[in-house]
Amino acid sequence: MINALLITLLFIAGIYLMAVMERWSLSGSLQWAGPARSFLRLFVQEEIKPRKHDTVFFETAPVLFIAVILLVIAILPFGKDLVLVDLATGALFINAALVYIMVSLMMAGWSLNGVYGMVGGWRSIAQLIAYSMTVVMALTATVMRAESMFMGGIVESQQTLWNILYQPIGFILFYLSAMAIAFLPPFDLPTADGELAGGAWADFTGLRKLLFRLGRSVLVLTLSVAVTVLYLGGWMGPWLPGFVWIFLKTLLVAVSFFVLGRYLPRIRHDHLLEYHWKYGIPMALLNIFIVGVLLIL
């Protein structure tokens, strides 16, 4: 019970920090009250629905988006025994849930029946299909080393050497793919504010938009925890308790996401897909091969 409360508190603090940093990455100034103001504004905003929208998809997409992300965070450990649901197929489950982010974005973009939304929706599907491939291939290599799909098992396999050093190629691939899956800048093509006016979210207002925005913050936090657990030794660290270590490492990963996003230009859509399919996939295969050889040696 206390564990669940602790996880929830850490989680809420984390989401708020993500939202603050997201604003920083766009505006360059730290506005501590910004997310709260934004939350209240969206909470009371008038809900405008586009003409001839697809009702089922329009209503389902925001809920599906945030629901699948909450499912992922439920299986990630915040400490040695601090996990809400300890799944035997944890590593696979992460990818299974992330796939539905793509489905919800596609539903969102298509349901609006407008140009920007549609382009954003289809862009997101192309981007997320591509990058969930590298995520699952990088995950495979971590599972190979741990010989277990339990998230706890993967952390414990890093007792001697963290995966960031054991499989650096996998780390780089997972890190960049995580950014692409959370469509953070410079991979923010599905929502691309500058060119698509919000893309897949273009015509969502009020509570629905709030669910999307909140979901995105949770998604960034989730993927940062995933990077921490899979590659940075999870709760391992001297002196401090495990959950503090996970929290600090997660924040570090998230900050690095936003800093990279602030200083890199947005990648062109065709380049984004080209880099992935032509170079990302061979690298991921190479990573699996190297880890396999290291494990046999």
Partner: protein, 172 residues
């Protein structure tokens, strides 16, 4: 008590998957159709989860999400369907389809009733043990099938990447 809850869930999910399967043909848009099929497949994945086959359930839900999205994107590329306003009919060759569906339903029903399914499993191994057993199955009895499929896919991937990389025939 537990068994009855499981049974009720199984029935509900089974009916859901059939209902979404039916919706595939009743919508007027490719995207709605693809996503109905996805919902049907997810219901089947949930059936696996209810039957405590965790790995199969998660795998089914993951694979179908990607596959149906790819299907939707290809259908859109070929046929366009802006916002589902195209009023497309998802059915064709109705008499033939009805005949084929009836015959196959009959065959499936006969198979279900005729096959001896063996005794009911009294205890189900834990999810972790199931993963191990699945690995053993794949790398022992079914090794030939899975390795053939695996190597074929890997070769396909490498070939596709090699063709796409224009290192040798770079016209620029």
């Amino acid at each position: 008590m537990m068994i009855s809850v499981q049974l009720i869930l199984l029935i509900i999910l089974g009916l859901l998957s059939i209902w979404f399967g039916w919706r595939v043909f009743m919508t007027s848009s490719m995207v709605r159709s693809a996503l109905s099929l996805l919902a049907s497949m997810v219901a089947i994945g949930a059936l696996f989860l209810v039957m405590e086959a965790e790995f199969l359930g998660v795998l089914q839900i993951m694979m179908m999400g990607t596959e149906m999205s790819i299907m939707a994107i290809f259908m859109m590329m070929y046929m366009m369907d802006p916002g589902g306003l195209g009023e497309m009919d998802m059915t064709h060759q109705k008499n033939l389809s009805i005949a084929a569906a009836s015959i196959f339903s009959l065959i499936i029903a006969i198979v279900i009733l005729a096959v001896g399914w063996g005794p009911l499993a009294t205890e189900i191994p834990g999810p972790h043990e199931q993963n191990r057993l699945l690995g053993m199955e794949i790398l022992k009895r079914s090794m030939m099938i899975f390795e053939t499929a695996g190597i074929t896919i890997l070769t396909g991937m490498i070939a596709a990447i090699t063709v796409a990389l224009s290192i040798k025939n770079n016209r620029n």
